[in-house]
């Protein structure tokens, strides 16, 4: 049961007030028409999904209705920091997650 600090309400609140909304820092391509189907598919669906440090977005649905970022360990569920939209994390994984690159299909199938 997470206890999460909302950087806008400046209080730690119960998990029930929030909803999780996915990996953070995934930027929408500036010119979607210009990118390949692979790159678009990657943006839509492919995620880093690490075991360990994860930067993710939560929505303070029952509170201030702000989205914000959380750096959380997906194994221990420890929350290292929460930070506002547009800010960058200060706690990052020692071994960085791989650069975005979709696992693509071989030709045969």
């Amino acid at each position: 049961m997470h206890h999460i600090y909302c950087p806008y309400c400046e209080e730690t609140r119960e998990e029930e007030e929030y909803s999780y909304t996915g990996e953070a820092h995934i930027e929408r391509p500036k010119d979607p028409a210009a990118i390949s189907d692979e790159a678009w598919g990657d943006y839509l669906f492919f995620r880093s999904n690490p075991r360990g440090i994860h930067h993710e977005m939560w929505y303070h649905a029952a509170g201030c209705r702000r989205y914000f970022n959380v750096t959380r360990n997906t194994q221990s569920y420890e929350i290292h920091e929460t930070y506002k939209m547009g800010e960058l994390p200060t706690v990052t994984a020692q071994v960085p997650t791989p650069a975005p690159k979709a696992a693509q299909q071989g030709e045969a199938s």
């Binding site: 049961m1 997470h2 206890h3 119960e14 909803s19 909304t21 930027e27 929408r28 391509p29 010119d31 979607p32 028409a33 990118i35 189907d37 678009w40 598919g41 943006y43 839509l44 977005m57 929505y59 649905a61 209705r65 702000r66 989205y67 221990s76 569920y77 420890e78 929350i79 939209m85 547009g86």
Partner: protein, 999 residues
Amino acid sequence: MSQVNRLATGGRIDRSKPMSFSFNGKTFQGFDGDTLASALLANGVGIVGRSFKYSRARGILGHGAEEPNALMQLHTGNAAVPNPRATQVELFDGLVSGSTNGWPSAEFDLMEWVGKIGGKFMPVGFYYKTFMAPQKMWMTYEKFIRKAAGFGKLSLEPDPDTYDKINAHCDVMVVGAGPAGLTAALEAGRSGKRVIIVDEQNEFGGTLLANNQTVDGVDAATWAEQATAQLEAMSNVLVMPRTTAFGYYDHNFVCALESRTDHIGPVSASGSRQRLHRIRAHQVILATGAIERPLVFGNNDLPGIMLANSVSTYINRYAVVPGNRCVIMTTNDSGYQTALDIQAAGRTVVAVVDSRHAPDGRLVQQAKAAGIEIMTGHGVIEAQGSKRVTGAIVAPLDAAGDTLTGPGKTLSCDLVAVAGGWSPVVHLSCHTGSRPVWQEDIAGFVPGPSIQNQHLAGAVTGDYKLSQALNAGVQAGAAAVGVESSHVFDCGDESEGAAQALYLIPHTKPISRAPKQFVDFQNDVTAAGIELAAREGFQSIEHVKRYTAMGFGTDQGKTGNVNGMAIVAKALNKSIAQTGTTIFRPAYTPVTFGALGGRDVGVLLDPARHTAMHPWHLANGAEFENVGQWKRPWYFPQQGETMQQTLNRECLAVRNSVGILDASTLGKIDIQGKDAREFLNRVYTNAWSKLAPGKCRYGLMLKEDGMIFDDGVTACLSDQHFLMTTTSGGAAAVLGWLELWHQTEWPELEVYFTSVTDQWATCSFAGPNSRKVLEKLCTDVDLSAEAMKFMDYREGTVAGIKARIFRISFTGELSFEVNVPADQGHYMWKKLMEAGEEFGITPYGTESMHVLRAEKGFIIAGQDTDGSMTPQDCLMGWAVSKTKSFSFLGERSFTRPDTARADRKQLVGLKPIDPTVVIPEGSQIVMDPNQPIPMDMMGHVTSSYWSECLGHGIAMGTVKSGSDRMGQTVYCPQADGRVLAAQICSPVFYDPKGDHHND
């Protein structure tokens, strides 16, 4: 029967309050302060149940949460409670109890013979090795297996009790009110911080209540009473007896179950039976103590074989001595205390059998001085008896306790008290993912490192001395509130000799041939079973657990696990540290479903949302439909009407005169700001740059994958002010969606969103006479066809109320929607009904609305779309702009290979060939109904109705390349064998040119 084992004096029972209770149909007497277990033992009841697999007679082993055998069936009728432990049931007058197993009774169980004979063929894992052929027979075998399933029995009637929940917050949560918990709470409480202390028992004190020691010169039990009174006097401390902390979750969230009325009667007379406390604590102190381990030897499950510490507890706390001639089997000094207690109670100690060769502790000396016979370097290798222990075979052991060094002899006895060492209660600390650590010196697991703000105190750390527990509690309490304390308690001489780590006592025969040596009593897991599992390759402790079912019982292995792990380790030639332990999961002790569900049942299961006009709908006989959380009128039947007759009447009223619909449930989002148009351009498929104030436009909203997510009409109230409508079920999701994009991607856009769903009540009235109705109530807006065109928006006064008027239509008829502040919604509705009376204004519900819109081919997002439909699939390419400079959400996905395919399923109209037929919604569509199964399915029917206005059935459905198949006949094979044929057509069945709504 008299209380043969009850002592005349002593204990914490109230002899002035006798209580009568029944067990397996017989009536007994006990006292206030008894547990069902202590009362049964007082009355000399030995057999309390039968074992699960072998139907062996079982008696009470322990005195608390660890009890594996004494599972009861309590109360009768709808109050029946299956499976509570007799050791945790407080006695009350009139309590009705019984065993959960045994046929015809627990005392004389015929299944015992099946177990005795069949048991030989039922080693662990035997199910996996047989009953395989033929496969179909398994269900038949299983029927018999299931007959033996389960312990207690549930009533078939609904539960008469209620359960509720409390959210609590504190600075310090103390789990356990034994010596360590009490001093921890006292220390923390003195700081003035908010403290909660819980204990599963009715009385605080834990081991202090059955202890002969003194605390700072005060008798232990008296000290506990004083400490409890001090805590109760602190306003910042919440003292909760009968409350079990059963789960420890992340970020110091602890769940505790408070039993509020179980000790009073079978059903709660008023208030809740149990209350779940959801506690968020800054600091948690676990003072959960330790549980004594039994030892594994032949027939060690016979009634009359008990934990030594439990025997002492029954004597000291309940004034019950559960036997006359007692053998104590011990591996450490604590067994000697039990011997002294038995002797003090006036019963015979036959011998203390100590596996150690040269014990010399303080208690050993006391026992010697008391003249108690001590057999050092010996072990009980087998118990004798059938329904109760009658003797113990004792044999000499080598120093390691591995091998017998001489012949055995039999000691006659009716009670064997077993002291096999202690297992700290590490359960809660495991719940948050911390793995327990084996500590060789105490031969037990202690809590491992944790990332929670967690402190440990007392026996849970493997330190069993009373003074240490009290002092550790002080330190934990001080640390939790950030102070220092130097208070040290004195409990006299507590010196003890070293304990021996012994789990299985060897027998003259190898394990596989020895009499059954039980490890897990509840699941009938034996040492031989564990050894067999290891032999068969189940080497991980988790495998052993799963293969043998060790630790799977309702006691979750509280007494048996460590012994089992030791036996596995030995079989594999590993250390216990290497073998490791299984993980304890919540709940520490079982928790009623009712308490976990709380009050969120019945009408409170989920909020039912109502519109301002809801009272009118109720008063006028509406049938309701659940739409999201909303209750919407489904149809308004009149006396004697079938549902179809109602729909026909409602639909014709709209087509021919005027009908009225409560459309308040549609989501409404107020959008203001300079960039509102730009924002709409990005989230909708169509263009919003040029929509003039006073105009409305329909919009489709897509997810980034290009699939329809929501739709609705948005009105331009002023140049920088829009009102968006969403589907009834989608309002919250759409608002979250808009905020997501605004806050995360486009914060530079100056736009604000505010939900106004609840602010506005919406009356939608449709039909050729709708203008006439509105004209009667609204004089300040020119409602003429020329002045107020289709998709126009005006502000005006309707029935004296400032209103927003929209000329939009979901029925294909001339139609208006009037929004008024919801406080006046009910009034507005009534005024419209009055005004419409002369035209026969007819209220209609969602079902007629569905029919009317289907006649016009309008989609319902979520019914005609399913998350896999693009606008093009719905033949709504007209609503998709190709000229917007910004690539709107979802646009890019249109050009993906699959989304761009020509043979995608498209939404088309379906006209049944037989006009009287209404094709069932959900029918699958095929081109050739005679093809063999599996058939090539082309799509399915999404919406289908009888159209009274058109005089035939109509339907919408998805069909592969549907728009290229106009005029083709498709077939819908039904489960009953009928094949319904339909012709593919435009989904617009009614007024294709739109003359009516433009009227």
